[in-house]
């Protein structure tokens, strides 16, 4: 993992462009899963890196890479954006149903998975994202999340169970 020692940490503090190029895409992917929209994810990711530019030089090395701090800022901003959406006034009009779903089984499964992933608790979602989307080892996931590798494994286990339950509620059988 880049920047996982003190020297790497200092390099990240000094070179905004390198920090951005190294981590922008994964922060956008993480935010897209949290927010359900790539456009919103790109907006918020830009804010994350502006905050990083302001805040990173003042960070003190505590044994964790700058990326951990970026994820924390991204998680907080995603929560703020979700709360902001909740406050948007919407007139009550017609009572009706859920979103249109996909047309083929496999596509429907993808849609259902995407929804189920977005509904996971934030820490489970982050653990799944880091381990399975970005491919970090559990040890690295632990460092990024400030938890033990075992605790992160537990988060992923619970996430997997919740995803299966969510799919089964939609009538989608998960086979091995």
């Amino acid at each position: 993992m880049e920047g996982d020692d003190h020297a790497g940490f200092q390099r990240s503090q000094a070179d905004f462009d390198a920090l951005f190029r190294a981590h922008y895409a994964e922060i956008v992917r993480y935010l897209a899963a949290r927010l359900g929209s790539r456009d919103d994810a790109a907006d918020v990711a830009a804010e994350v890196f502006v905050a990083a530019w302001r805040g990173v030089p003042r960070l003190r090395y505590r044994g964790r890479p700058v990326l951990a701090w970026l994820y924390r800022v991204a998680a907080n901003m995603a929560s703020d954006r979700l709360r902001e959406r909740m406050r948007q006034p919407v007139p009550v009009e017609v009572m009706s149903g859920p979103p249109v779903a996909d047309v083929a089984d496999a596509l429907a499964d993808r849609d259902a998975l995407s929804r189920a992933l977005a509904r996971l608790p934030a820490d489970q979602q982050l653990a799944v994202h880091l381990r399975l989307v970005e491919g970090y080892s559990f040890a690295e996931v632990g460092r990024l999340m400030g938890k033990s590798a075992g605790a992160c494994q537990m988060l992923v286990l619970r996430a997997g169970r919740q995803l299966r339950e969510a799919l089964e509620r939609e009538g989608i059988r998960v086979s091995s």
Binding site: F16, D17, F20, Y24, A25, R29, A32, L35, R38, D39, A46, F49, V50, W53, L82, E84, R85, Q88, V90, P91, V92, E93, V94, M95, S96, G97, P98, P99, V100, A101, D102, V103, A104, D105, A108, D109, R110, D111, A112, L113, S114, A118, V128, H129, L132, V133, F138, G150, Q153, M154, V156, L157, G160, L163, R164, G171, I172, V174, S175, S176
Partner: protein, 433 residues
């Protein structure tokens, strides 16, 4: 399961995710669903996208102060800089300026005596993959008429006319037509019976002042506004997020999103607006806003909406009795997805009848003049795809399921499913009883 067992299960799952063979089917299924979820969430950004975003996000460098200035000089310089900054920057210190875009966005859609030539590409949201459809046509807000052609892969799937709310939908593949006194009478609701630009215009009118600021998106200055569409029974909300060109105030893109009660969003359709062209109605060729059905077109007239459809009675029938019904109900065979056709009923509503055949949680409906209330859909864009020489339409219902429907001689067959799966498959195998 004890805490130690849980930890062991988590460790074993971690090993499977690292490449070990799963010890049992349960573990394998959990690993599979996690990998599938990750695959859904994984996408790449091009180097160009990253560089563009970096250009937008990169902070402006600040010149370092000169260390060798004396204290007095530094104070003086600072005072001068401060004064200049106050003079130059003060008018802009409030950040991006919010403007009300509602009136200008409405004005961009034409004025009195004008109609809009529209062309839109309807794309699925992330995670979906049904065919992209294209709508081209005309919207006459003052005259209350809309006329469009919808194509999928170059094949015309529907020709639609809306005349003061009355919807005529012609299906060229089957040579049949449906006429409804309002979009609400269509099972898939007003998403099918209203053009997206007309819907956007309606939402703009209802929205009131929309204060927002311009932003840069892919090198273009745009405004983005959120327009409420409806709130569902479970506090889920449907909104249109419209991206407008900051120079012309015309819509570039309209995203249909569902906002969950927890604030999370899901985009289920994106309408890329290829053109919105206001022109004088007088310049339009005669007949442009008409739909002439071929002579002899079998037409289904849907029951007038606005009159509540009441269930008058339910009669359970045997398979043999169902076979004798006219017109023939459609079904999925003796069994479907492991469930038998075990509950066949004729439902009598005000305005018409419907036949319902249940296969566990999957139900097949055959109806003609009246849409059974359980099938009434949300006002969100339906998905229309060619299917078996005809056209299938998919939409969500108020009860939380998914319905796929297709036109059949003399009416409609619809399959309702509790979740997302099975509707497409069922609609491909449904046949006359």
């Amino acid at each position: 399961m004890s805490r130690a067992d849980e930890r062991e299960a988590a460790r074993l799952l971690a090993a499977v995710l690292d490449g070990a063979e799963p010890a049992d089917a349960d573990l394998a299924a959990t690993a599979r669903v996690l990998r599938d979820a990750a695959a859904v969430a994984r996408f790449d950004l091009s180097e160009a996208d990253v560089e563009h975003a970096l250009e937008q996000a990169r902070p402006v460098p600040v010149a370092p102060s000169r260390r060798r200035l004396g204290v007095a000089g530094a104070v003086l310089a600072a005072a001068v800089v401060l004064a200049a900054a106050i003079l130059l920057v003060l008018p802009f210190t409030s950040g991006p300026v919010d403007v009300d875009v509602q009136a200008r966005a409405l004005a961009a859609l034409g004025g009195r005596g004008q109609v809009l030539g529209v062309s839109e590409v309807v794309r699925p949201g992330p995670g979906a993959g049904f065919p992209v459809s294209v709508r081209t046509g005309w919207v006459d807000p003052a005259g209350g008429r809309q006329r469009w052609t919808q194509t999928v892969g170059g094949t015309v799937v529907t020709e639609t006319l809306v005349d003061h709310g009355r919807v005529t939908r012609y299906d060229p593949a089957t040579g049949t037509a449906v006429i409804a006194a309002s979009c609400a009478a269509l099972a898939s609701g007003c998403a099918e019976g209203v053009d997206p630009i007309a819907f956007y215009r309606h939402a703009l009118l209802a929205a009131g002042p929309l204060r927002t600021h311009a932003r840069t998106e892919r090198g273009r200055r745009v405004y983005r506004v959120s327009l409420p569409v409806e709130r569902l029974a479970d506090s889920t909300r449907i909104v249109q997020v419209a991206t407008l060109d900051a120079a012309t105030f015309r819509p570039l893109r309209i995203e249909w999103r569902q906002l969950g009660a927890d604030g999370r969003a899901q985009t289920f359709a994106t309408i890329a607006v290829r053109s919105v062209l206001p022109i004088d109605a007088a310049d339009l060729s005669p007949g442009t806003l008409d739909l002439e059905l071929p002579p002899g077109t079998p037409t289904t007239q849907l029951a007038a909406p606005g009159q509540p459809v009441r269930l008058l009675g339910v009669r359970r029938v045997t398979l043999a009795e169902a076979r004798a019904l006219e017109p023939h109900p459609w079904w999925l065979g003796q069994r479907f997805r492991g469930s038998r056709a075990n509950d066949i009923a004729v439902l009598r509503y005000t305005g018409g009848t419907a036949v319902r055949i249940r296969y566990g949680r999957i139900t097949v409906w055959t109806y003609s003049r009246v849409v059974p209330p359980p099938l009434l859909g949300a006002r969100v864009p339906e998905k229309t795809i060619p299917l078996g020489g005809g056209v299938a339409r998919f939409y969500g219902t108020r009860g939380g399921g998914l319905v796929g429907e297709r036109t059949i001689p003399g009416g409609t067959v619809a399959v309702s499913t509790p979740g997302n799966a099975d509707a497409f498959t069922a609609l491909t195998v449904v046949r006359p009883l």
